[in-house]
């Protein structure tokens, strides 16, 4: 944290420092220090960029400078872009102006409907898009591209080869390709461009006995409506089991995912939450899903089931509404904001991290299916789907309705702060019908936790809060005080917030014996101030309410303390 202080002063003080460098050589380290200073300077100044009357420093001051630099050497542009790129994750990137429509519309015009990815030195075809010319041409999932338009794919294939292929293909009207099928056979395909809508597959309900089968290829805008309609048809048909196929579903809009979960979940439950740089935003199910119809749900997943698809499958698996069959999923629990720049290009920047209500995440891990099973690509049969038909048991799940929406968040650092915005969002959701208390439990590195009621935190109107419990400091204070005068069974809890909360969060700590005495300890004045909070003690864990932070000592025995002068 930088210290920011305000001054009111007419003139610059005595001597304003000269900032010129001598013309002689400077070391790399000096240059680095200067660079850092420049950045700091501009960062600080850009805080004021909208304060117009007194023109002030901001990054835009560099515009002319950069203009010149790029004019002299156009590579400078690429350099700067590359520097930016290196600082982001692989999901952050710059896209064309038509990126959003192209990516998140199921309806495609004049496309082949085939997807390629570079994998293990080969250009690999994970799947043909549903309803597309590629599917019609009989593309077999898991094939490898051998040649296109008479051009042989080098081995091993690289990102450059992929880009070259994209360029050639983008100009063809009919795609002539040779694939090596999973069974080793080589096969030529001729795929024309065509108009199609991959999401139309979701309209179909394939009924076998008591079991319905629904394919969801994406979480595009509109997929939710299609799914909900098909899901209703299944209810009307009185089916006992539903198989939802999310294989090769790479995700899409978060809203689509919420709406689909609401259609499936009959109870009001916390579903997941996102963290961003500014706030935690929560999602809940609205409890409007049918309570009279509870089918057994089996979801098919594979290593290309990603992102929003993982969220959908993950939440249903978390509560036991669904079981998963297939492969470990992709493992992407982070989301991007799409920002349209003034030149129309769209910047996707990683800005959200998603978690299940207990604070766990599938990021980089994926979801583990209840039954791990891999489709044998060399056979015609769909072993995963076949297994699912035998796996369904007709037994739906009921989850006990909780009396609050509770979320657990593991703090990145014990002094991480929570912004007002988190609680403001919840207050806004109240206006939209959110009607149960919302509680956040912030867990510090040492396992101690603080639970707060979101509405009470909002009413206390602090701009931000520290809900952490200082792990190392609590431990070392405990050690020192125990060596001096503190009872062996006592515990010391140092909160990251030392003032009044304005409401009463609940602290939760492990304690070997039931503590009955509670004190605030002022380490400067060396005084103990007793207080009597409401508390519970179960399973070796003490939970009690506090209204202000500080150094708190809990003890099974009454403590008295004489300052050592």
């Amino acid at each position: 944290m930088k210290k920011i202080i305000s001054v009111l002063l007419a003139m610059a003080l005595s001597l304003s420092l000269s900032v010129t460098l001598s013309a002689e050589e400077i070391t790399k380290e000096q240059a680095k220090a200067y660079a850092h200073e420049i950045l700091e300077l501009y960062d600080v100044s850009s805080v004021n960029e909208n304060f117009d009357e007194y023109g002030r420093g901001n990054w835009y001051a560099l515009e002319d400078y950069l203009t010149d630099a790029i004019y002299k050497d156009p590579n400078v542009y690429a350099d700067w872009y590359e520097i930016w790129k290196q600082s982001t994750d692989e999901n952050s990137r710059l896209n064309s102006t038509t990126y959003l429509e192209e990516t998140y519309e199921g309806a495609k015009k004049g496309k082949f409907g085939i997807t390629f990815t570079v994998k293990d030195g080969e250009i690999y075809v994970p799947n043909a898009v549903y309803m597309s010319p590629a599917e019609e041409a009989g593309i077999v999932n898991g094939s490898v591209l051998i040649s296109y338009e008479g051009i042989e794919v080098p081995s091993p294939a690289t990102e450059q080869d992929f880009n070259a292929m994209s360029t050639v293909m983008s100009e063809e009207e009919t795609l002539e390709i040779t694939l090596r099928l999973p069974n080793g056979e080589l096969k030529d395909y001729s795929i024309p461009r065509g108009d199609f809508d991959e999401d139309a597959i979701t309209d179909k309900l394939d009924i076998t006995g008591d079991t319905g089968y629904i394919i969801v290829p994406s979480f595009n805008a509109g997929t939710d409506e299609r799914f909900i309609e098909t899901y209703k048809k299944a209810e009307e048909a009185g089916l006992k089991n539903i198989i939802i196929d999310l294989r090769n579903n790479l995700g899409g809009f978060t809203d689509t995912c919420y709406n689909m979960l609401n259609a499936v979940i009959p109870e009001k439950l916390p579903t997941f939450f996102y963290t961003s740089s500014t706030a935690i935003s929560i999602t809940t199910s609205d409890g409007l899903g049918s309570k009279d119809w509870r089918p057994d749900i089996v979801i098919l997943v594979n290593d290309e089931t990603a992102s929003a698809a993982e969220q959908f499958a993950g939440v249903l698996q978390y509560y036991g509404y669904a079981r998963l069959v297939g492969e470990q999923t992709y493992g992407k629990a982070i989301g991007q904001n799409n920002i349209t720049l003034s030149n129309g290009k769209i910047l996707s920047v990683t800005a959200l991290e998603g978690y299940l209500p207990d604070g766990s995440t599938w990021q980089n891990k994926g979801l583990t299916p209840d039954k791990v099973l891999k489709d044998d690509l060399t056979t015609e049969a769909d072993e995963v789907l076949d297994y699912a038909y035998s796996y369904v048991d007709g037994e739906g799940t009921t989850v006990e309705q909780p009396d609050s929406y509770s979320y657990t968040y593991y703090l990145g650092t014990d002094t991480e702060r929570e912004a007002l915005a988190t609680f403001a969002y919840i207050r806004q959701m109240r206006g939209m019908g959110l009607d149960m208390p919302v509680r956040f439990t912030y867990v510090s590195s040492n396992g101690m936790a603080m639970t707060v009621d979101a509405d009470k935190a909002y009413d206390a109107a602090q701009i931000y809060y520290y809900f952490g419990i200082l792990g190392d400091q609590s431990a070392s204070a405990e050690k020192i005080l125990k060596g001096a005068w503190l009872d062996e069974d006592a515990r010391v809890i140092m909160t990251a917030w030392t003032g009044d909360f304005g409401f009463t969060p609940t602290l939760s700590v492990a304690a070997a014996k039931e503590p009955k005495y509670f004190y605030y300890y002022d380490s400067v004045a060396e005084t103990l101030t007793p207080f009597e909070p409401a508390y519970t003690y179960t399973d070796g864990r003490l939970r009690f309410n506090i209204d202000k932070g500080g150094i708190i000592i809990v003890s099974p025995d009454e403590l008295s303390y004489e300052p050592t002068v």
């Binding site: 009111l8 960062d43 001051a61 350099d79 600082s87 994750d89 929003a308 992709y330 990683t350």
Partner: protein
Amino acid sequence: MKKFLSILVAAVLLVSTAPTAFAEEITPEEAKAQFIIELFNESQKDENFPGDVRGRWNVLEGFFADMFSEDPASYDEMIALWKGSVDDYSYITDTAAFDDGYDTRRKGRVGLQVHFGNERYEVINIEDNSPAMLAGVTVGTILLDFHGQAFSGDAYEDMAMVQKLYLETGRYEFRGQLPDGTIKEFSFEKADYDTETVSSKCVVTEDNPTVGYIKIPAFNANTGDKFAVAWKSAEDQGVRSVIIDLRDNPGGYDTTTLQMLNTIIGQKLPLFYYKKNDGAVLYNSDGTSSKTFNPDIVILTNGESASASEVFTSVLRYHGFARSVGTKTFGKGIGQTVTKFNGKVFTVTAFEIFLPDGTTYNLEGIAPDVEITDNPETEADEVLDFAYTYADNAGTVIKQPSALRYTINLEEKNQKFPLTFFAQAKRLSIDAGLPVYITFKAGDGTKVTVDAVKVFGQAEDEYSFEDMLK
């Protein structure tokens, strides 16, 4: 406003737009430069996002490092670019110089500042209680030699010579020409002193036993505590009027100003607010000072009373605690934030100051109740003399209002105020135990008054005038 959409998608679909393709596109360089900046600015919003790394300006560190290493002059260019984009009150200095400026306890200094101009080397500033002042040097004194050595006429060389000799000897020894033309020998050594012992004194003369006099030369870090001592002493001495001399006071810390206003004001009152790019910050008095001591206050001002001095004067006048005499003040109603970093200090203009009714004295200054100019030809201090006759010993009794009221003039009708502004107003309301009413006034005269606590309860991200009319 930019449109934000949240998505969760894993990998590229069909043919992705490879970013390198843009680098090859031929567009005007200016568009590209603009674009880069926008790119980095947007990405910066996510810099606190834990876990994954993302775009931010700091990644350019290596780039700038290389650039400055290859071409040291480019550093100056960057500074100049920044300097060109800020106002005169924004500047860079080093931490030590900054601390020196705001801490009145000087250690081992002579306490004068010489401007090495093209034609003459003139004393432009002398600190109170400094060896230079005690030796009788006055502002405007011109240095004719130094340690017996004649000046070469080259300002840079002469400055280096003065610095060198001063460092070696710790002494200033020179022939100086005073403003009245007389030439005098000066000789003094560096010493420890406090520029501000005067702030802790309330002087009561035999001629005017009911009037106390307190001089405040600056609003430094420790001035607030000193003023509290002086104010207490005024009360103890039983005076019924206090003259506060703010002439030549250039200002200082806003926290000091607030502390001094709280020393005087016994009620909970709206004091002033800062208008920032993202809303405003409201200030009120805490109402904890003595309600029994309510003297008549006369403030002395001149054209060099600036900034914090003007806040102090205008707020006391606004509520009727004080009247002012002298000449019109400097007229600086803007403030700077200070960031200490890497041994240096960046001071950047960041807010405008307004009285609770939304008025400002910026650029105009505060006209005194009675305009009196000091006659430099006479020994007498005409302004102070007048103040003694002007002080009426009647005292001031200000009633505690039932609410804290502020008026904010909107720059444009759809100007937005963030939720945090109202959160801050609610904290103010909780702490003061009073409602906070804010009147937003548009340029066309239409206005709306809102209860800040109620607006906060509605929990939108931000509010505009139109929102509040509803």
